[in-house]
């Protein structure tokens, strides 16, 4: 993925570093390039924290506003990945706090969708839709702790090392969390998939 130009711990060269420094100088084109490369995983992080797709666009925009506004205050540009991750995560956490009610409604709508199932579909499609709804519900019900590495792994295809670099935690911890996330999903979906 685009992010992974230098996530293997080698800090000798980082192609993204000049871009980050240019953003700190107020270079709009560098900012465009940066957004284009990293919007996808930033959205994944936001979704992993919120578990609510309706909020991803808004929060994502807020993250980029913060990036543009705070880039000049980034003390160590070489650590821009964890900085961007923290910014995305914090924005999502803030949005989640202020939007608890909305989240509950969203959960209720999801439950209804799972309970009723889509109408006008043949048996195979119906079964597939139910499976998808069940998996989605199981992912949303995962603790954020486990959902974050799972979403980054599935959406971005990152290695354990890349996830650990971004999230700022040891590789073993990332692996353990993925194992537990999958175990929880299997338990939640037992007999339905």
């Amino acid at each position: 993925m685009a992010l992974a130009s230098n996530t293997d711990g080698d800090s000798s060269f980082d192609a993204e570093l000049p871009v980050v420094e240019a953003i700190a100088e107020g270079d709009r084109y560098a900012f465009e390039e940066f957004v284009g490369r990293h919007a996808c995983w930033v959205r994944a992080v936001i979704y992993a924290v919120l578990g609510d797709r309706d909020r991803v666009d808004d929060v994502s925009q807020q993250v980029w506003i913060n990036v543009w506004d705070q880039a000049k205050r980034l003390r160590d540009p070489s650590r821009w990945r964890s900085w961007l991750y923290r910014m995305a995560r914090n924005a999502a956490v803030d949005a989640g706090r202020s939007d608890t009610r909305r989240k509950k409604i969203s959960g209720a709508v999801l439950s209804d969708a799972i309970g009723d199932g889509p109408s006008g579909q043949d048996g195979e499609d119906l079964e597939r839709s139910e499976q998808r709804a069940a998996v989605l519900g199981a992912i949303r019900s995962l603790p954020t702790l486990y959902r974050e590495p799972l979403v980054l792994r599935h959406m971005q295809g990152w290695s354990y090392q890349q996830i650990s670099d971004v999230m700022g935690m040891p590789v073993d911890t990332v692996e353990t969390r993925l194992v537990r996330a999958r175990r929880l999903l299997r338990e939640a979906l037992e007999g339905r998939v």
Binding site: E32, V35, Y47, V56, V135, I139, R182
Partner: protein, 255 residues
Amino acid sequence: MNDQGERIELLINRKLDGELTLDEDLELSRALIRMPEYRQMLECSECIDGICVEVLGDEIGEPSADVALEVDRVLSRLSRSKPRKRALRHRVMGRLPQAFWWSAPAAMAACLGWMAFIGPLDMGSQALVAVPVGSVPVDPGLVDPDRVPHEPVANVPVFMEQGAGGSGRASSGGSMRLTNGYLADGFSDDGRVWSDAPKSAYRRVRDKGAAIDLRRDTGYLGVLGDDGNMVLIEVNRTRAVGRPRPKYRLVAGDF
């Protein structure tokens, strides 16, 4: 799940994530042959992973294809809130401490009050004027009886002006009345003078931090000249004095 089961689950996880080494791949294959229940776990996990990728792809969606438009939106939101302009204003005006904006009018009011009630500040501190008084009779109380004639001026004892008339010397163990009517209890061993003057007796011109007082004093030195006449030297000075805590403690020579 026992240790072996956890080990196989870990290997299955690594296989799904493409993190399996050749040795681990071999180990997993052998385990799956021996224990078919783990084969079922692998198949189930593969199925869930596949659905996860689909579902999350739909759920999160793709970012806007037109990045320039997205950036335009971001920058337009920024320009609406104008943080950069605020930052610029802050850079210019914010260099002055926030207390300045409050202290400036307060200081002006204090100056006006000072001018109105006390008179203009005599900032020419340490003004030392020798006034030959000739045949003007000298109050004997001003003369230090222990003084040795022709002593250098620096060694001449200081006589303090007394507000209610007369004069007295602040000597160890004694007390004297200050020009503002309060009593100073004399020198302590460390050379400090203790006073009963309340806080309001000292004019505070800076309220924060250093606790500095402005003190304005007039005193007289009496010096006997070679011709036998007394020469009064008026000492008129205004000093900024750092006031130590507790607040009512004065320092010798501050009045």
